[in-house]
């Protein structure tokens, strides 16, 4: 195994390019899925007749499918009905779809955990449903959801590695290209990949622990 050669400037730069894509896809996906998932979770919680139920089944189906399948589907199957994305956006869309479903459940659980009295109190004080949600219920629900949300973010970062299957030029893909051209680089690349993912995810998990213990002033 050749560590010096493996970590040449050229290769490191190539790996960093991959890491950049990993981070870009992760950030975009988490932002979109936070918005969409939050909306879906709230809509499910609101128990709108028929609509919430259908949304619920839709979410349950997505949550119970392998992410790999969703990625394949987005890049290879959707174009057959006219929806076409390039590699980068296919990855973002697939991850967003999956994570939205996961986050919607986290939101719903978080909202359910807030005592029913809060909603009742808000409504009886003259606030509308939406206002009560926005100013009273959601903020409290949020606090309990943070560990679960960060945990999903960690999963998301790890799951970007699955997008190698559609040749997304992220970290794992670039590492593979490097060791594909020279067997001596296999172990160094594995070390590089493992350290990179571990560093990002571990830091995020520490962040989660910090946020949990911080005192909120209410």
């Amino acid at each position: 195994m050749d560590f010096i050669g493996a970590f040449s400037f050229v290769n490191l730069r190539f790996l960093l390019d991959g890491l950049q894509i990993t981070v870009a896809v992760s950030v975009l996906s988490i932002v979109f899925s936070f918005l969409i998932g939050g909306l879906m979770g709230t809509l499910r919680f609101a128990n709108i007749p028929f609509f919430s139920r259908v949304l619920g089944v839709f979410v349950d189906i997505i949550r119970n499918l392998p992410l790999l399948l969703i990625i394949f589907f987005t890049y290879f199957a959707l174009p057959q009905i006219g929806i076409r994305f390039n590699i980068f956006w296919s990855a973002v869309v697939a991850l967003t779809i999956f994570e939205s479903a996961m986050l919607s459940e986290i939101f719903r659980a978080g909202l359910n955990a807030v005592p029913k009295g809060q909603m009742e109190a808000g409504l009886s004080t003259g606030l509308t449903y939406v206002e009560t949600m926005r100013t009273i219920v959601l903020p409290q629900a949020f606090r309990s959801m943070i560990p679960a949300i960060v945990s999903q973010l960690i999963s998301l970062v790890k799951d970007t590695s699955l997008a190698v299957i559609i040749s997304l030029p992220e970290l794992t893909h670039h590492a593979r290209i490097i060791y594909g051209q020279n067997t001596n680089y296999v172990i160094p690349m594995f070390v590089a990949m493992t350290l990179s993912y571990f560093a990002i995810c571990y830091v995020l998990s520490l962040l989660s622990k910090y946020l949990e213990t911080r005192k909120y002033n209410y």
Partner: protein
């Protein structure tokens, strides 16, 4: 879509078989390893405790794909060959065991401390108290989230497709390539997975409601 299914039914079912096999094997072993790691994390011995903590933190924070590739690509280069199915299943086991360790650990810690104290003061040893008093209660708390982990396991077993592990996803892939009808093929694959995961998912939700700890 029906004709597509009928024409390739044997491939789909072959893959289905391997997916189930891999998931069940991984579940059994990851439960064993995970529970052990959970118990080690609560041990009095500092070294054991830290080793277990390191194991859990390490494997929870790296992608499953890397663990599987390690067994499929790296180890064979140094004389320890694993085929796709083996590499995938072992990878799944190790990865899931770290999550199960966390789940079981928090389950054990949810059991009131008084139980352990009562057991010890009644003359049981630490391990006896664990075995007869604490763990049984912990498991009831832990079954729904464990069910969740099993569902994740089944979904993650699709990783076998990336190392020619002959599972459902791999076979679906072969069919999609041979027929170019990717849309229907992946829908069929999805339905197969849902047959496994949806019932489990609803079962866990039901159990969670029934066994809710009255707080």
């Amino acid at each position: 879509m029906i004709e597509l299914f009928q024409a390739n039914a044997d491939l789909f079912f072959e893959g289905f078989k391997y997916t189930i096999l891999s998931s069940v094997l991984a579940l059994i072993f990851s439960l064993i390893i995970g529970t052990l790691m959970a118990i080690f994390q609560l041990s009095e011995n500092k070294i054991i405790r830290n080793l277990a903590k390191a194991y859990v933190e390490f494997f929870r924070n790296i992608p499953l794909l890397i663990i599987v590739m390690f067994f499929y690509v790296v180890l064979p280069l140094y004389g320890m060959p694993f085929d796709g199915f083996q590499a995938g299943t072992i990878g799944l086991t190790i990865y899931t065991s770290a999550f199960i360790a966390e789940t079981v650990r928090s389950g054990i810690q949810t059991v009131p401390k008084g139980q352990m104290e009562a057991g010890l003061s009644s003359g049981f040893t630490y391990s006896e108290t664990m075995r007869y008093i604490v763990l049984p209660q912990a498991f009831k708390i832990v079954i729904p989230p464990l069910g969740g982990q099993f569902i994740n396991l089944i979904k993650n077993s699709s990783i076998l497709a990336m190392v020619a592990g002959l599972d459902l996803m791999y076979q679906g892939d072969l069919v999609a390539n041979a027929t170019f009808i990717t849309f229907e093929t992946y829908i069929i694959v999805g339905i197969f997975y849902l047959i496994l995961t949806l019932p489990l998912s609803y079962l866990m939700a039901y159990l969670e409601k029934r066994w809710a700890v009255r707080g």
